[in-house]
């Protein structure tokens, strides 16, 4: 999907350097690596949210940067992103936030009508129920906890039913049990629909036990790309050399408080550093 792709920011910082990564339909890949390695940038390139400064991107058999605007929009409706800090307006209700997953597929009149009365309450509830959040349907996003908000972000993508699911640290605000559960929900959904799933994860053990293929990223380059059975302890220690002797796992990983994005959220550019 990515062929020799590089991304250099306007300020001269190179976030990714000639990265090549191919995935077949239905594959499930975990991206791991230390903070600042370029995991988020990689996912944003895969989501057609960033344009590479070098190399070629091909998503779902198409080059997004050679398309007309309507075609690109059509392509984007087939890609779903779970964000680390769910970009949900604090005053929006959970049901509306989940239904917003299909805005790209809905005609404008339906988007408008759904603001007056939610048009697919059952659908939103089914997506939330998979994450044990069915009872939060009509709560406002600023009235639920950070962990719940992060799972609402997951539910939105489940409701969107994209062919390519990109998850950027989707469980960073969840405790180990819930984190594992949420990741399994994503995997099961991808498997059931034959969708491709690429998830960046901070917890190495979660990645190794749940995903068949692991991509290690360090300093904007791909350090290794192996089936999870072939990832050795020494490879991992080398990958995380900058972060000390201990590998980040579910048990010891630092919890990022996920909360509704506010004005202080880092700019997309700043986050890649």
């Amino acid at each position: 999907m990515l062929d020799g792709v590089g991304l250099t920011h306007a300020n001269g910082f190179t976030a990714l350097n000639s990265v090549t990564l191919a995935a077949t339909r239905g594959e499930r890949i975990a991206v791991i690596g230390p903070s600042g390695a370029g995991k988020t940038t990689l996912l944003r390139l895969l989501g057609a949210a960033l344009r590479p400064t070098a190399g070629a991107v091909s998503l779902l058999d198409a080059n997004p940067w050679e398309m007309s605007a309507p075609e690109l929009r059509q392509l984007r409706t087939r890609i779903g992103v779970v964000h680390q800090a769910p970009p949900l307006p604090p005053r929006q209700r959970v049901v509306t936030a989940v239904l917003a997953g299909r805005l790209g597929q809905w005609p404008l009149w339906k988007s408008l009508a759904s603001l007056v009365y939610p048009l697919d309450i059952a659908g939103a509830k089914a997506a939330l129920a998979q994450l044990d959040l069915g009872d939060r349907l009509f709560d406002r996003c600023d009235r639920i906890s950070g962990g719940q908000l992060q799972r609402v972000g997951v539910a939105r993508v489940l409701y969107q039913r994209p062919e390519l699911i990109l998850a950027d640290e989707p469980v960073s605000a969840l405790d180990p049990t819930l984190a594992q559960q949420a990741v399994r929900v994503l995997l099961r959904d991808a498997e059931a629909r034959g969708a491709t799933l690429v998830a960046s994860l901070h917890a190495v053990d979660l990645a190794l036990t749940e995903f068949p293929r692991i991509v290690g990223v360090r300093d904007g380059r791909i350090a290794f790309d192996l089936p999870s059975t072939q990832v050795t302890e020494s490879l991992l220690h080398e990958l995380y050399a900058a972060e000390g002797a201990e590998l980040p796992t579910l048990a010891n990983e630092p919890r990022f408080p996920a909360h509704a994005v506010d004005a202080e959220a880092p700019l997309p550019g700043a986050r890649c550093r």
Partner: protein
């Protein structure tokens, strides 16, 4: 969340019933408001009205540039600025002692409580009541009344500004003093210091910047107000505009409007500059006492005030002669007792309802118009649309409501609908600018995430941006509505309905007893709005 499993959630939106009720209620309230405000958009397109307006607007081009007229214009502009400056100086003269006396934090008797507490509380409440009356009566009403005493000219304008703004400044000064850290002042009082000493050493250091900043902001408002007061004969640009409108001289009117635009924008910029200066002041503590720069600045301010008074040649000394004092006393006595006959009271009550309706419908229209202009002004449709929309917004808000009312009265005839349109036009400019800022400051991630998932820009705006800014938009709208209620009360001076029209009419017939009832109604309305908005703000915080 484990307890949640037992709670079944219905598949029906629990908020739906509330929404439907709110919608129905809004329709039920809005309908009579539209009727009272004589909302007839058709009047805009009435052939006769279109012709009059068209002819008048056609005469706008070219703007009048005759030498003689420009001379008048220059003098009127100077006069407007001088009225504002002298008015603010007078207001401060009034406000400083009133604020000192009425603020609670400087009250020695509260310590303990000590001796004289009852007397102090009485003084406090009496002063607060006086301040409410001073600022509750719009400056235009004071001006109208003073014109009867001092005759046409700037003296009435300066005094009117002094009284209304004095009341406002005193109230806000007292609030600023009370909102800061009051312990230093308390310490000085407890150590036997006096009111003024506690103020200078305990409160001023913490609040000087805010006090100055607010005063400068008020000066900016005074410039706009003094433009308007000319319409009741209190000198300055307004008087010139009034004459041009009465003679349907489009060329002169357009030159005056352009001058308004320039003056208001310049006052905006200058006041912003002054406030930044105040913000930076005192950050390099190298000089003991007042530095050379500050001294020069204070000197400049002082001479500006002195120049304003001498330019206007107010003859205020006459105020203090026994003869004129007697005249004023007689004049004031003629307002009492107010006419409280039931027939007149019901007329005033209807005028009050009409005023409320004008303000509500005008503000609603402005929300629609302001929002429509805020979309391009926030940069959604490229930079050309942005510049264009900004220019329209600036033009709309730099023309005061009362001036708009003279224009709209021409195009839809006299009556409340002219007032509705005037409020809507000016307020669209104000709200549009505030809305655009809110939209620009809305955090982008929610919208961007939706765009990245293939949502249309319109849908991404509705689901990602609008929910972020709605509370802010509502707060701005309520705040403007509050101001518009006061404004609607005086728009009638140029024939745009409401209480103002009643007052203007009765005053021109020298029916002072009736006029005094209307003034009392305006005062009551203003106090009610004050209390309501304070209550709403308390609930929102």
């Amino acid at each position: 969340m484990s307890a949640a499993h037992s709670l079944p959630v219905s598949l029906r939106d629990p908020a739906a019933r509330g929404r439907v009720t709110a919608l129905l209620l809004a329709c039920i309230v809005l309908w009579p408001l539209l009727v009272v405000a004589e909302f007839k958009p058709g009047a805009l397109f009435d052939a006769q009205n279109l012709k009059v307006t068209g002819n008048f607007l056609a005469a706008f081009l070219p703007p009048e540039t005759g030498h003689e007229f420009l001379g008048y214009l220059g003098r009127a502009t100077l006069e407007t600025l001088a009225i504002a400056t002298a008015g603010i100086a007078l207001a401060m003269l009034l406000a400083v002692p009133l604020a000192l006396l009425s603020t609670r934090v400087l009250n020695v008797a509260d310590i303990g409580p000590g001796p004289g507490q009852g007397r102090a509380a009485l003084l406090h409440h009496a002063l607060r009541a006086l301040l409410t009356v001073l600022r509750g009566v719009p400056e235009l009403v004071w001006a109208l009344v003073f014109v009867r005493v001092f005759g046409l000219g700037p003296a009435a304008g300066v005094l009117a500004l002094g009284l209304t703004y004095g009341g406002m400044l005193a109230k806000v000064y007292a609030e600023i003093l009370e909102s800061g850290d009051t312990r230093p002042a308390r310490g000085i009082l407890e150590a036997g210091g006096g009111r003024v000493q506690a103020m200078l050493y305990g409160l001023l250091p913490g609040s000087a910047q805010e006090l100055t900043s607010y005063t400068v902001y008020r000066w900016e408002c005074a410039v706009r107000a003094s433009v308007v007061m000319g319409f009741v004969g209190a000198g300055g640009l307004g008087q010139l505009m009034d004459q041009a409108m009465k003679m349907l001289n489009g060329g002169e009117a357009s030159t005056i409007l352009l001058t308004f635009l320039a003056l208001v924008l310049a006052a905006d910029l200058f006041s912003g500059f002054l406030r930044r200066q105040v913000g930076n002041a005192g950050t390099h503590g190298r000089v003991a006492g007042v530095g050379a720069g500050s001294a020069a600045f204070i000197g400049l301010l002082g001479s500006a005030v002195a120049a304003s008074f001498s330019y206007l040649d107010l003859g205020l000394a006459a105020l203090f002669s026994r003869e004129s004092a007697g005249l004023i006393g007689d004049f004031l006595r003629s307002f009492f007792p107010p006419d409280l006959s039931s027939g007149w009271l019901s007329k005033v009550a209807y005028g009050t309802v009409e005023t409320l309706a004008i303000s509500a419908v005008g503000t609603l229209l402005a929300v629609v118009g302001g929002f429509a202009l805020a979309l391009p002004a926030s940069g959604r449709y490229g930079s050309i649309a942005l510049q264009g929309a900004r220019f329209v917004l600036n033009a709309l808000r730099s023309v005061p409501e009362l001036v708009w009312a003279t224009l709209t009265a021409l195009s839809v005839g006299l009556g409340p609908f002219a007032g509705v349109l005037a409020l809507a036009l000016h307020t669209s400019g104000v709200l549009g600018r505030l809305f655009a800022e809110a939209l620009q400051n809305a955090p982008p991630p929610p919208r961007d995430a939706l765009l990245d998932a293939g949502a249309r820009p319109a849908a991404a705006f509705l689901y990602g941006t609008l929910p972020e800014v709605t509370p802010q938009l509502i707060a701005y709208t309520l705040y403007r509505w509050e101001m518009n209620i006061r404004m609607a009360a005086i728009l009638g001076f140029v024939g745009a309905g409401g209480l103002g029209q009643l007052l203007y009419f009765e005053l021109s017939l020298f029916h002072y007893a009736q006029a005094s009832t209307v003034i009392a109604a305006m005062l009551a309305l203003s106090i009610a709005v004050d209390a309501a908005s304070a209550a709403i703000r308390r609930r929102m915080l």
